[in-house]
C-alpha cells in the first residue's frame, strides 16, 4: 500500500496524542499540507494556529515546551528552517524540547525553488543539541514519530510529501544514531534516506547482489564507531540525497571518512549548489538524476558493474 510519509506522520501523531497529553501542535497556516490537520481535528484545545508567522510560531513552541509540553511545530522545511536565529535562540539556546517538522524537502514539484527545501539539513545540523531524522518509509515514519514524542530533546524531522511503497521489513527497528544496513553487499555501498532511498532500492535491485544499502535516516547524532564498522566491508561509497551536496548526508560521510583516514572512494550525489526548478516531481527526479533509472546508470558507472 502506498502511503505518503507525511500522512504516516500525521496519523501516528494522532494515535500518540490520545495517550500522551503533553503533545501539542503548532501550525503556520500549513496544517493541511503538513498533515498536522489530523491532530488539529482530534485535539483542538492542544492545537495552535499561529498564522503565517513562523518566527512567532517558533517562540510559542519554545514557550510551550518550557511549560512542560512536547510541541510538534510543522511547516514547509524551507520556511521553518529559514527561521534560523529564532530556532537558534528560542529553542536551541534554551535546549528545549521542540519537534520541528519540515515537510516538502527535496523535489516537491511545480511550486518550485522557494517552497522546495534543499538546504534544511545543512542549516539544522549546526544547531547545538538538535537531532535530525529523515524517515524513509511509512513504517519507519511511525517509529520515528514515536521516538520523537517520547524524547525530550529538540528534534528536526524532515518529512517527505512523497508516496513511498513500504520496502522495509516488518521487523525493522529505527535506532537513533545507528543508521541500519537494509541490504548487504560486497565492496559497493549506497547511502541515502528519505524518499530517495526507495529509488535507490529500486535501482540497486536491478543491478544485483553486490551492492549494499545503508538507510541513513538518523542524520544527527551519528555513532561514528558504528559507521566505521559498517563502512569496513565497502570500498566504493555513493551518497544520494534530494538535498544540497553541501552540508547534507554526503558531507557527514565525507567528514567521517576524512577524520578516521578511511581509504574509500566516495561520490556525493545530490543537488549542486543551486535552487531547483519547477516541474512535476517525476520530471524533476529525472532532471536531477535522482530517479531509479538515472541512479541505476550512475551506480553502474561508479561501481564499474
Amino acid at each position: 500500500m502506498n502511503l505518503s510519509i507525511r500522512e504516516a506522520f500525521g496519523k501516528e501523531l494522532v494515535k500518540l496524542g490520545k495517550k500522551n497529553k503533553k503533545i501539542v501542535a503548532v501550525s503556520c497556516d500549513l496544517k493541511d499540507a503538513c498533515k498536522l490537520s489530523f491532530f488539529f481535528e482530534k485535539f483542538p484545545k492542544r492545537s495552535f494556529e499561529v498564522g503565517i508567522a513562523e518566527a512567532n510560531a517558533v517562540g510559542i513552541a519554545a514557550g510551550l515546551s518550557m511549560s512542560g509540553f512536547r510541541p510538534f511545530l510543522a511547516s514547509f522545511a524551507s520556511f521553518i528552517t529559514g527561521k534560523n536565529v529564532e530556532i537558534r535562540t528560542s529553542v536551541s539556546y534554551n535546549k528545549c524540547g521542540v519537534v520541528i517538522v519540515g515537510t516538502h524537502g527535496g523535489l516537491i514539484g511545480p511550486d518550485g525553488a522557494t517552497q522546495s527545501s534543499v538546504q534544511d539539513i545543512a542549516v539544522m545540523r549546526s544547531l547545538p543539541y538538535f537531532e535530525i531524522i529523515q524517515p524513509s518509509s511509512p513504517l519507519e515514519t511511525k517509529q520515528v514519530v514515536n521516538y520523537s514524542a517520547a524524547s525530550k530533546k529538540p528534534i528536526y524531522l524532515r518529512i517527505a510529501r512523497n508516496d513511498v511503497t513500504e520496502f522495509l521489513p516488518k521487523n525493522y527497528k529505527f535506532k537513533i544514531g545507528f543508521p541500519s544496513l537494509i541490504k548487504k553487499g560486497k565492496k559497493n555501498l549506497v547511502i541515502s534516506s528519505g524518499p530517495t532511498l526507495s529509488n535507490c532500492v529500486t535501482a540497486v535491485n536491478k543491478i544485483g547482489k553486490n551492492v549494499g544499502i545503508l538507510n541513513f535516516s538518523s542524520i544527527k547524532p551519528v555513532n561514528e564507531k558504528h559507521i566505521i564498522k559498517t563502512l569496513k566491508n565497502y570500498t566504493n561509497i555513493i551518497t544520494v540525497e534530494d538535498h544540497s551536496i553541501i552540508g547534507g548526508v554526503g558531507s557527514i560521510i565525507a567528514e567521517i571518512i576524512a577524520k578516521n583516514r578511511l581509504m574509500k572512494k566516495l561520490k556525493i550525489h545530490g543537488i549542486k549548489d543551486d535552487f531547483v526548478d519547477s516541474d512535476t516531481p517525476s520530471s524533476l527526479e529525472k532532471h536531477y538524476k535522482l530517479d531509479p533509472l538515472s541512479l541505476e546508470k550512475i551506480f553502474k558507472v561508479f561501481f564499474k558493474i
Binding site: 501539542v24 484545545k45 492542544r46 495552535f48 499561529v50 498564522g51 508567522a53 518566527a55 512567532n56 510560531a57 517558533v58 517562540g59 510559542i60 513552541a61 519554545a62 514557550g63 510551550l64 515546551s65 518550557m66 511549560s67 512542560g68 509540553f69 536565529v85 529564532e86 537558534r88 535562540t89 528560542s90 539556546y93 534554551n94 535546549k95
Partner: protein, 266 residues
C-alpha cells in the same frame, strides 16, 4: 513595600550593575540602568522563585542581563560574590541570559525580538495546565523594530491573552544612536491599541506607578492585554551616563569613572 526602602534597593542594584560590569570589563550599562525599577518590582511583587509552578519573567532585551543579575543578587538569589563572575567561562551569569546555566532564567535571550512569542507559549501552556500563571515580558524600545514582536502582538490581541503584561523600556536609544535618528516611532501607542491592547504610559522610574500596575495586573483588573510604555532614562542614576549612548555597551570602564559613578549613587 515602602517607597524609601524600594528606592534604596534600586540604588544598591545600580551599584551592583556597575560593579559587575566593571569587573567583567564590558557590558551594557545604559540599557541596564534604565530598567532597574521595572525588573526589581516585577521580580519582587510578581515572581516567587521559590514556588515550583510560578509566574514567569521574560527579559526579551537580553542585553540588560546585568540588571537582572543585580536584582537577583539584591533578592539574595545569587551566590556570594557571584556578580564578579559576570561574562566569564563557567559562570552562571553569561553575557546574555542562559537558561541552561542559571535556572532562574525563564528564557535565554539576546537575539532581539523573541521574548513576546515565548511569553505566548508560556501563557498557552499555563492555560492547558490550568495554572493561570502571569507572564511579565520586558521589551526594549529599539527591540520592537523586530518584526516578530508584531507577529506576537497580533496573536496576543487576537486571542485576548490577558495573563501577559508587556513593558517597553522607553529609553529612547538603541545600539548606535537614538531611536529618532534610526527609525522614528510614529504613533507607537496607537499601534499597540489597534492590535487589541490596553495601553498605559508611565514614568518607568516611578516606584508607585509601576507597583500600582503590577498589583492591579496580578488581581486581574485589566480587561485586555496590557502594554505599559515606560518613559525611562538610559543610564539612569549616573549623571554622565544619562542619555549618553557612549554607555550603551561599555568596554573597559576605567577605575576613575567607575568610582565617580559609585560616588554619585552613594
Amino acid at each position: 513595600m515602602t517607597d524609601n526602602n524600594a528606592k534604596l534597593c534600586c540604588r544598591n542594584i545600580r551599584k551592583k550593575i556597575l560593579f559587575s560590569i566593571y569587573h567583567a570589563r564590558s557590558g551594557h550599562i545604559g540599557p541596564s540602568l534604565s530598567v532597574v525599577e521595572l525588573i526589581y518590582l516585577i521580580l519582587k511583587l510578581g515572581v516567587n522563585f521559590k514556588k515550583k509552578d510560578r509566574n514567569k519573567f521574560i527579559l526579551s532585551k537580553g542585553h540588560a542581563a546585568p540588571a537582572f543579575y543585580a536584582v537577583l543578587d539584591e533578592l539574595n538569589l545569587l551566590k556570594k560574590n557571584e556578580l564578579k563572575s559576570l561574562r566569564k567561562i563557567n559562570s552562571r551569569l553569561q553575557g546574555h541570559p542562559d537558561k541552561k546555566k542559571l535556572n532562574l532564567v525563564d528564557t535565554g535571550s539576546g537575539a532581539l525580538g523573541q521574548g513576546l512569542s515565548i511569553s505566548i507559549g508560556y501563557t498557552l501552556g499555563s492555560r492547558l495546565l490550568n495554572t493561570k500563571n502571569k507572564i511579565f515580558c520586558l521589551l526594549g524600545d529599539g527591540e520592537i523594530q523586530e518584526g516578530q514582536i508584531w507577529e506576537a502582538a497580533m496573536y496576543i490581541g487576537a486571542h485576548n491573552l490577558k495573563n501577559i503584561i508587556t513593558f517597553i523600556d522607553g529609553n529612547k536609544f538603541q545600539n548606535e544612536r537614538s531611536i529618532d535618528e534610526t527609525l522614528p516611532e510614529k504613533n507607537l501607542i496607537n499601534k499597540w491599541k489597534s492590535f487589541g491592547f490596553q495601553t498605559i504610559s508611565i514614568d518607568g522610574h516611578s516606584i508607585p506607578s509601576i507597583e500600582k500596575i503590577i498589583k492591579l495586573f496580578l488581581k486581574n483588573k485589566y480587561k485586555k492585554p496590557l502594554l505599559v510604555y515606560c518613559n525611562t532614562i538610559k543610564g539612569k542614576g549616573v549623571s554622565f551616563m544619562e542619555n549618553n549612548n557612549k554607555y550603551h555597551s561599555v568596554k573597559d570602564l576605567s577605575e576613575e569613572y567607575y568610582k565617580k559613578a559609585i560616588l554619585e549613587l552613594n
